[in-house]
């Protein structure tokens, strides 16, 4: 560790091995990060090490405040920034499998993408304010007409609603959307209430009117 002794002003402040009863800052950092366990008497009994550990610990405790201050300082995220990001991504990236419609006329080949079906499932949230549909999976061979398909949906629901009744309501809505717009043989709809969202802080402004 000879290179650590090249900086004279550091030696003055007592962070070199000769100030630390032979220990190094590297070792002391490991010791601190291990919660000072197992206890090392040669560190715990060294005033130099204790001073260095205190300084390291103070530095560590400051880091979250630095991150918070930096984050607050980065300025607002305006809509032009969001547009800039969105303009750089492929919107149809997640079309998924193609789900055929049966047609009497063999010259017709109609289909709907899995991505569009997920969009239909999500639209069920519009039937109940505060509901947000999250991830949606279609399990089964959707490319085969008539094959059984299980739909698994995660949702966030607003606080205060009786959950079983709301779940049943949403399940019915999703089933109705899929029946109206697809030919999928939906055998089950599994709904997982993943989050119960509390009303927004101090927000009297988003009430249903």
């Amino acid at each position: 560790m000879t290179d650590e002794r090249d900086e004279p002003q550091l030696r003055r402040l007592g962070l070199e091995p000769e100030d630390l009863d032979g220990h190094t800052i590297d070792e002391l950092t490991d010791y601190l990060e291990a919660g000072r366990q197992p206890a090392d008497p040669s560190i715990d009994g060294s005033p130099g090490c204790q001073l260095a550990l205190d300084a390291l610990e103070r530095l560590r405790s400051l880091t979250p405040a630095l991150v918070a201050a930096d984050t607050a300082d980065t300025g607002p995220v305006d809509s032009s920034w969001v547009d800039r990001i969105l303009s750089g991504i492929a919107m149809d990236a997640r079309a998924g499998r193609r789900i055929p419609y049966t047609a009497d006329d063999e010259r017709l080949d109609l289909g709907i993408t899995e991505g569009a079906v997920r969009g239909l499932v999500r639209s069920a949230e519009e039937s109940f304010p505060g509901v947000v549909v999250g991830r949606c999976r279609l399990d089964g061979d959707v490319t085969e007409p008539g094959a059984p398909v299980a739909v698994a949906v995660e949702v966030s629901v607003p606080y205060g609603e009786p959950l079983p009744r709301l779940a049943q309501y949403l399940r019915t809505e999703i089933g109705a959307q899929l029946a109206a717009h697809t030919e999928l043989n939906v055998t089950r709809i599994d709904l997982t209430i993943e989050d119960v969202a509390l009303p927004s802080e101090g927000g009297a402004d988003d009430g249903a009117q």
């Binding site: 880091t63 930096d70 984050t71 920034w81 969105l86 991504i89 549909v133 607003p158 969202a197």
Partner: protein, 188 residues
């Protein structure tokens, strides 16, 4: 009104719901992630690149990569740390390519300028002092410190990302810590 209230609900939904929906290809949900995590990602890139003009480019590249790779995100609830890892990688890439350039046409890296003691309100003084000390650090020390202390990377991960041995990472971190502590002591 209905429309606005629905957008509000998505805006407030937790990460798992929003990221799960973005994985499914919902651009509105992805936009929520962009709004939610741009500040943190900018802040991280800012420290990593020492306030260079590349910050926005790095954050934008990170989001483009994130959109492409969202289907690989196994735990949508952890989208925040996943995004931070992506921005960390992108920032490191930027740093490395910048250094490759510098090796060719730069003679000697200028000594970092010494900042004058920050004069700010008591409450923020220590944070400001830490920020100023970080700005003075040589690039390699600062990068290690940011990856470790802000990015939460292990020594092995830092070594892998920066392409240097773990012993070097330890040495750089020790020097960075000593430098920061000394500078902060001087400003007390």
């Amino acid at each position: 009104m209905q429309e606005a209230s629905r957008a509000g609900a998505l805006e407030r939904a937790d990460d798992r719901i929003v990221a799960g929906r973005a994985i499914d290809g919902d651009v509105d949900a992805f936009a929520v992630l962009v709004r939610r995590y741009t500040p943190m990602m900018r802040a991280y890139a800012l420290r990593m690149l020492n306030a260079s003009a590349d910050v926005d480019d790095v954050v934008q590249e990170s989001f483009v990569t994130a959109w492409q790779r969202l289907p690989e995100l196994e735990e949508p609830a952890k989208v925040k740390s996943w995004l931070m890892r992506i921005v960390s990688r992108k920032a490191v890439d930027r740093v490395r390519s910048r250094r490759a350039h510098a090796d060719i046409d730069e003679v000697e890296q200028a000594a970092p300028p010494h900042a004058s003691p920050p004069r700010v309100a008591e409450a923020r003084a220590e944070v400001e002092a830490l920020a100023a000390a970080l700005r003075e650090l040589p690039d390699d020390q600062r990068e290690c410190w940011v990856l470790r202390e802000i990015g939460g990377c292990s020594y092995d991960e830092i070594a892998e990302q920066l392409g240097v041995p773990v012993t070097t990472v330890r040495g750089l971190l020790a020097r960075a810590r000593k430098y920061i502590i000394v500078r902060m002591e001087e400003w007390r």
